[in-house]
């Protein structure tokens, strides 16, 4: 019955850098927000540079760390080669820094930075596929949470590299029509599908929900996959009707996904309001709000609605969904490493004891206040309002860095 291999759980020191670096770049990105104006243009080199810092340095870095831990849990087998995770983060970090520098001042670096990122992701995907082969359980979770998003990730990166070659002038393409394909493949196909896939494991696990139907998520996955493919193809081939079809499919996917979230919420047994639960509310409400801003922009709204849609997506959905889970995953990893061998021999802390509750609450409110004020800055086109929001974001990020360190260094009772 039990044939779970010894290397089932990857060692803490292997995963810790992903979360340390991820939170560091969340702080760095928040500091850099200070230099935005409320009327930034999304294709400004500074903005392009910042977007890749935030998405690769914070979002992808933490998501890869979480995947390193979750893949074996979900598939019930150890990684094919867990050691590759020692190489993935340095490559991702290097590639990200090259992209960031490339956008800001040295376009020639872009294709090289892109290639380095691609190599790190190919390593990750190869390990994931070989791990999948070790299991007979190629169930829907594996496909939803692992296979599908990573196919879109690879496609999006390749499109990015082609664009980077265009950006440097090495080839002639219409970057702006490819841009939507790149953004949609990566944000919709990779980040959002990963969030959808993992939420179906993590929300019921932490909320103790049981006996709910998974039909909505399966439908949502189909809809969003076709939506992403349609938008990407429509953008690259320049077929407007395909793009519109893709947008409609994506909107319906999110609607169906919300129905799924609702039934998980209704069947949950655990109703405590910890920082994780509060963060999930903010994250999912942000997803809806972002969609509304996106729709307003697509229906002919001003540029500020596009900025607002992305802002709420980045600091609302991505920020809160990731940070909320750090308060669950980091204590777990540390506990597993340091305290689990002591179970039965001495008193060990509960996971909840390892979260600095008050400081986590501060971080939550500071980050939320900051994100909302910045949004008001965009909508009201006020630099002053925007910058005061950024100040809250920076404070929230500083508290976050402190909290992650606190949890990682937790040794009480040892």
């Amino acid at each position: 019955m039990f044939n779970i291999s010894q290397d089932f759980a990857p060692p803490f020191k292997l995963i810790a850098p992903y979360f340390r670096i991820g939170t560091f770049f969340y702080l760095a990105a928040s500091v850099l927000v200070m230099f935005f104006g409320a009327d930034i243009f999304h294709l400004d080199v500074y903005v392009l540079s910042w977007v890749h810092l935030f998405l690769l340095g914070f979002v992808m870095m933490t998501m890869l760390g979480a995947m390193a831990q979750l893949i074996p849990v979900v598939l019930e087998v150890g990684h094919f080669s867990v050691g590759v995770f020692y190489f993935i983060w340095p490559l991702l970090l290097l590639g990200m820094l090259m992209l960031v520098a490339g956008f800001y001042m040295a376009p020639a670096l872009l294709p090289y930075g892109g290639a380095v990122v691609l190599v790190s992701i190919i390593i990750f995907v190869t390990d994931a596929l070989l791990t999948l082969r070790k299991t007979e359980k190629l169930g829907s979770i594996a496909i939803r949470g692992i296979l599908l998003p990573n196919v879109f990730l690879l496609a999006g990166l390749i499109v990015g590299i082609v664009m980077a070659l265009g950006f440097t002038g090495a080839i002639t393409i219409d970057i702006h029509s490819w841009l939507l394909g790149h953004v949609y493949l990566l944000l919709g196909g990779y980040v959002i599908i990963t969030v959808m896939g993992l939420s179906l494991i993590l929300l019921p696990m932490f909320g103790l929900s049981h006996g709910f139907s998974e039909r909505p998520i399966n439908l949502a996955m189909w809809l969003i996959s076709f939506g992403v493919i349609a938008v990407a193809m429509g953008a690259i081939l320049g077929i407007s009707s395909l793009k519109i079809l893709g947008f409609l499919l994506s909107f319906s996917a999110v609607t169906v996904y919300f129905y799924q979230l609702w039934i998980i919420y209704k069947t949950r047994a655990r109703k405590e309001h910890d920082v994780w639960a509060s963060s999930m509310y903010v994250a999912f409400v942000s997803m809806l709000v972002s969609m509304v801003f996106g729709a307003v922009y697509l229906l002919g709204g001003e540029h500020k609605y596009l900025l607002s849609a992305f802002w709420v997506l980045f600091y609302g959905l991505f920020g809160f969904v990731i940070i909320g889970h750090l308060y669950k995953i980091v204590p777990f990893l540390v506990w597993f490493e340091r305290f689990s061998p002591l179970v039965g021999k001495q008193k060990v802390p509960m996971l909840a004891d390892m979260v600095p509750t008050r400081a986590a609450g501060f971080q939550f409110w500071l980050s939320l206040t900051g994100a909302v004020i910045c949004l008001a800055g965009f909508l009201g086109s006020s630099d002053l309002v925007f910058k005061s929001g950024a100040a809250f974001l920076i404070m929230g990020a500083l508290v976050l860095v402190h909290n992650v360190r606190f949890m990682m260094n937790f040794k009480e009772g040892l």
């Binding site: 019955m1 039990f2 779970i4 089932f8 759980a9 831990q69 849990v73 979900v74 019930e76 979770i141 494991i201 019921p204 696990m205 932490f206 103790l208 049981h210 006996g211 047994a269 655990r270 109703k271 405590e272 309001h273 777990f332 506990w335 597993f336 305290f339 689990s340 179970v343 039965g344 060990v348 802390p349 509960m350 996971l351 909840a352």
Partner: protein, 101 residues
Amino acid sequence: MSATKDDIYAAIATVIDPEVGFNLVAMGLIYDASCNEEKGAKVTMTLSTKACPLHQMIVTWVKEAVTKIDGVDSCEVELVWEPPWNISMADEDVIKALGGM
């Protein structure tokens, strides 16, 4: 003399799920327990989620706790998913504590 079902439940009640903060018996995760003449105990249990990262460990802790009983030499744990666990299987005070706002 071999251990009784109550002895085994009492031993497992010392094993706590670190995520939820309650012991496995109070959570209603233990479906059955018995011990034969040869002091071999058998525990039938489930977990609150299939994708539980503590899978192996919890089973080991149960085994360790049960084999500490005087009348038990060995312990076999059978992990089952039928019937699936749900919160109504937990003790009243656990349900209250989890559901408390």
